[in-house]
């Protein structure tokens, strides 16, 4: 569905992404993991076309942005826009007329209230609902489970399974390994702007232990907690 060839991105002399080569197929869920600052969000922005980059992104359907639902880590909301209006705005942007928002409000959000008054989790659920109603073919979900309550986490996981069944491609970043374990077919490990490892489903448990050992090391001892 979408292939990325030699994607590189720099800010001045600082290289953020280096020679990324990835291939995302229909009906599959991909996880991108890496420490804060590893380049995950920059990679997503490059795929979305929100950041200029070197290298090529080839899509089966044309411009990725026209069929891409991008859930940002911290979705931005205007100060006085209601949940309903936010969804309306995103649907207008794709020339879609959405009716029956009440029925589709599966997270029971107070859609007639201003979105800025929502909690972190509610904002995420609103932004997620909006991109689902856009009828996208590809989804980038940047930390979709962050700040979201456990019930909604279950719903989000089920939605991801459903999207997969429908033949859509989903790319997820998450710092909660169990959520990736439940949803992904493949996980890519991003470190210092490079994909250093590709892990298939059957090797996920090894990856978790490896990451734990590698990430924690003797860092806790260094803190010298008292």
């Amino acid at each position: 569905m979408i292939s990325i060839e030699n994607l590189s991105k720099s800010y001045g002399s600082k290289i953020v992404l280096e020679n990324i080569n990835l291939n995302f197929e229909k009906g599959k869920v991909y996880g991108i993991v890496g420490e804060n600052g590893a380049g995950k969000t920059t990679l997503f922005k490059c795929i979305a076309g929100l950041e200029k980059h070197n290298g090529a992104i080839n899509c089966e359907y044309g411009k990725p942005k026209d069929f891409l639902g991008y859930l940002q880590t911290e979705p931005y909301f205007f100060s006085k826009i209601t949940g309903n209006e936010y969804i309306q705005l995103l649907c207008n942007a794709r020339n879609l007329t959405n009716t029956d928002l009440k029925e589709k409000n599966i997270f029971d959000l107070p859609l007639n209230e201003y979105a800025v008054k929502y909690s972190t989790g509610m904002r995420k659920k609103l932004a997620f609902t909006a991109i689902l109603l856009q009828e996208n073919k590809l989804f980038i979900l940047d930390e979709p489970f962050n700040g979201v309550d456990i019930h909604s986490n279950i719903i989000i996981t089920e939605i991801i399974h459903k999207l997969k069944e429908m033949g859509k491609s989903i790319i997820i970043s998450s710092h909660i390994f169990s959520t990736l374990n439940d949803t992904c077919d493949e996980i890519f490990l991003l470190k210092n702007g490079k994909i250093i490892k590709r892990v298939l489903k059957e090797e996920f448990s090894n990856l978790e232990s490896e990451m734990k050992a590698f990430t924690i090391g003797n860092k806790i001892e260094k803190l010298n907690l008292k």
Binding site: K63, K65, N84, Y86, L89, N92, N112, E113
Partner: protein
């Protein structure tokens, strides 16, 4: 506390630099403009004193923002917090209070100073979940957000229209129309998050047409009560009313184009100068609009690619 104000000063300087103004020049020009406008205002209108009080209080209320104050409360002790709040409220209103004193409005300046300090001690938390309905829900966001933030301007403008008819003053009516159009124009002066442009599946030309359609449709809705009232009571001057309305569309359209011509950066002082020039000589729009249109399509192409 000293560090806090040094940081605020640095942030203000950075903001001025972002607007394209050298801070020192900005402060000198700002002070000069304030004195000139104040002298003129007190000479021209008997309401200047009240305008100053309202202005000072609105600045102080703006500083009384819940999240910001909660952050300050977390950082500082109660005593320090109150000191900071009193100082910052006095800083933002000091020029207005001083000018009131200079104009020998002693009672107003004393009452204003007390009110400003009083507002430092209270929290204006808005716990209401009331959502102001608007007729603009089909195509958010500029007019929905703008109307909810500035609805009082429209009530004031409609009141002025009513007054213009009552006292048979056509110029006042036109002023109310200009006020409404300027308020609509203001919705296009701030750049939105790039996501809200990126999300559109449109070409730059289609995107600009979509925005233009919204401008015409929604600003007409807001201006319609004024246009109809003035046309009925000053029907001999209907061409002037239509002329101002048309110019209003052009100026709002120009501002929208200017915003996207530098997008996602913010509009800077250069636009302010060009805008002032076009206000002085509107035919300049004929040159500026095509230029801004080309620049906007270039910038939008990068995001809507």
């Amino acid at each position: 506390m000293k560090d806090y104000f040094i940081l605020q000063f640095k942030m203000l300087n950075r903001q001025l630099t972002e607007w394209g103004i050298e801070p020192v020049i900005g402060y000198i020009l700002g002070l000069f403009a304030f004195i000139v406008i104040s002298i003129k205002l007190f000479k021209e209108t008997q309401f200047a004193e009240y305008i100053y009080i309202a202005l000072a209080l609105s600045l102080v209320i703006k500083l009384n923002e819940v999240n910001r104050n909660d952050f300050l409360k977390l950082c500082y002790s109660r005593k320090e917090y109150i000191k900071i709040r009193i100082f910052e409220n006095l800083i933002v209103s000091i020029a207005l209070i001083t000018f009131l004193l200079f104009q020998e409005k002693y009672l107003s300046s004393i009452l204003l100073s007390i009110s400003v300090c009083f507002f430092s001690l209270i929290d204006l938390k808005n716990k209401s979940s009331y959502t102001l309905p608007t007729p603009f829900y089909k195509h958010p966001f500029e007019f929905t957000v703008g109307f909810r933030s500035n609805y009082f301007i429209y009530f004031f403008a409609y009141f002025l229209t009513f007054m213009s008819i009552s006292v048979d003053n056509f110029n006042l009516g036109i002023f109310s129309l200009i006020l409404t159009l300027l308020s609509c124009l203001n919705y296009y002066t701030n750049s939105e998050d790039a996501f809200y442009v990126w999300v559109f599946s449109l070409t730059p030309k289609e995107f600009i047409s979509y925005k233009l359609k919204n401008i015409i449709q929604y600003s007409t809705i807001l201006c319609l009560p004024i246009i109809i009232s003035l046309s009925l009571f000053f029907y001999t001057k209907i061409e002037i009313i239509v002329g101002f309305q048309f110019l209003g569309y052009l100026f709002i359209f120009t501002t929208m184009l200017a915003k996207y011509s530098v997008f996602p950066e913010k509009l800077n002082i250069r636009f302010g100068i060009v805008f002032a020039l076009t206000l002085w000589l509107p035919p300049l729009l004929l040159l500026i609009i095509p230029y801004l249109y080309i620049q906007s399509t270039k910038k939008l192409k990068e995001i809507l690619q």
